[in-house]
Subunit: 224 residues, 2 copies
């Protein structure tokens, strides 16, 4: 695994930098590594923001973590890959929405969520490290699958840019409680509570043409 | 409803602008209003990217649509609200992840998703229009609830910035099919297919203190 070679050791509790410090609803902020990593690891996609000339772009893309680094990948020809590879300052955000919070007053409505905002610049993963980092993507999606799927050949590897951003400047934000109404609203005859949401895994849909048993990660998908 | 006064009429099929035209995987692109609106309406949150000095920020926030405008809101003191109210160029992205696409080759793996990317600048919603636009947020979250919850008072309205961005420059991207392997990989003895995902609504969690029957939108929440 590339953890050691690709990710420098970091202190387990990072102080927030000026730009990563949470300003709004700061009681929801977390800067410890375990919290940041858990939110990152629960995600299949992130949103990457970066400047492109006078425009700002915000693009969803697959993401995965190895050690203290978050990775994304794409075609060499992609505008996003080019700008990020040039070192454009980036902000990467991962959000899990966990529920709608219904307060007695309209004003106190809220949402429950887990999010991470990462600031920094991406670095290009060297050719020699690409196979291991892409294996980690496959491990993230379906543990065991990289032993079955055809591995990338030299031309496929060459056509793919892989970029990593350190989780140095990362802030998590979590809200996971019920409504917080103003005292004077608590006795109002209004239903209050949380309408929870979660990501559900539905049964796998197989392509035809393969007659063997489904792999374990497929069987477990909607029963995990 | 504020549709007519707040949203200018738009042609139902918008040609993409230079910055909204989809470049990568253009066969997944859609620019028609019905497709863009359906993806926007299925979302509770968007990601807003904007520049703040030398940094780019990407912040998740609640969003809702009225007519041809997407709205967000927040405290007057929020950095995001201030920058966007000043007219900072923004990119707003909404993403629904619908599945992981498992191809025979690692290289051809993909994801199924529905996304919308909106370019433009936000405008501040006038004080007089705020109540109607915030009512539309409540209608989006829980139809009928604005007749029960305490409406915002003057000080709450004054403390809230509401911003709208036109859906003029919006591009949708949809991938909703199985793996597309290279011809030479189709006969490989590898399970291929889709591992579907969807947003699930779990049973409502009520606060204590209200003895009446749950409103219809609460009962319907996890049975809708």
């Amino acid at each position: 695994m590339p953890n050691d070679t690709l990710s420098p050791a970091l202190p387990p509790h990072l102080p927030p930098s000026a730009r990563s410090r949470v300003r709004r609803a700061a009681e929801r902020a977390h800067y410890d590594e375990a919290t940041v990593h858990a939110i990152v690891d629960a995600a299949w996609v992130c949103h990457v923001a970066f400047a492109d000339g006078d425009n700002v772009l915000c693009i969803p893309t697959a993401s995965w973590r190895v050690g203290h680094t978050l990775y994304v990948h794409g075609s060499n020809g992609s505008r996003m890959m080019k700008r990020l590879a040039e070192g454009a300052p980036a902000c990467v955000t991962i959000t899990h929405l966990d529920g709608l919070v219904m307060a007695r007053s309209a004003f106190s409505h809220s949402m429950n969520y887990r999010s991470v905002v990462i600031h920094g610049c991406f670095s290009v993963v060297a050719e020699a490290d690409k196979p291991a980092v892409l294996d980690a993507l496959m491990d993230h999606i379906a543990p065991g699958r990289r032993e079955h799927a055809r591995a990338p050949d030299a031309s496929e590897l060459k056509a793919t840019t892989v970029l990593g951003i350190p989780l140095f400047e990362a802030a998590a934000k979590i809200r996971d409680w019920g409504p917080r109404d103003k005292d004077e609203d608590l006795a109002l005859p209004v239903w209050a509570g949380v309408l929870p949401l979660r990501e559900q895994r539905l049964p796998a849909v197989a392509e035809s043409g393969f007659d063997g048993p489904a792999p374990r990660y497929v069987d477990l998908w909607s029963h995990g």
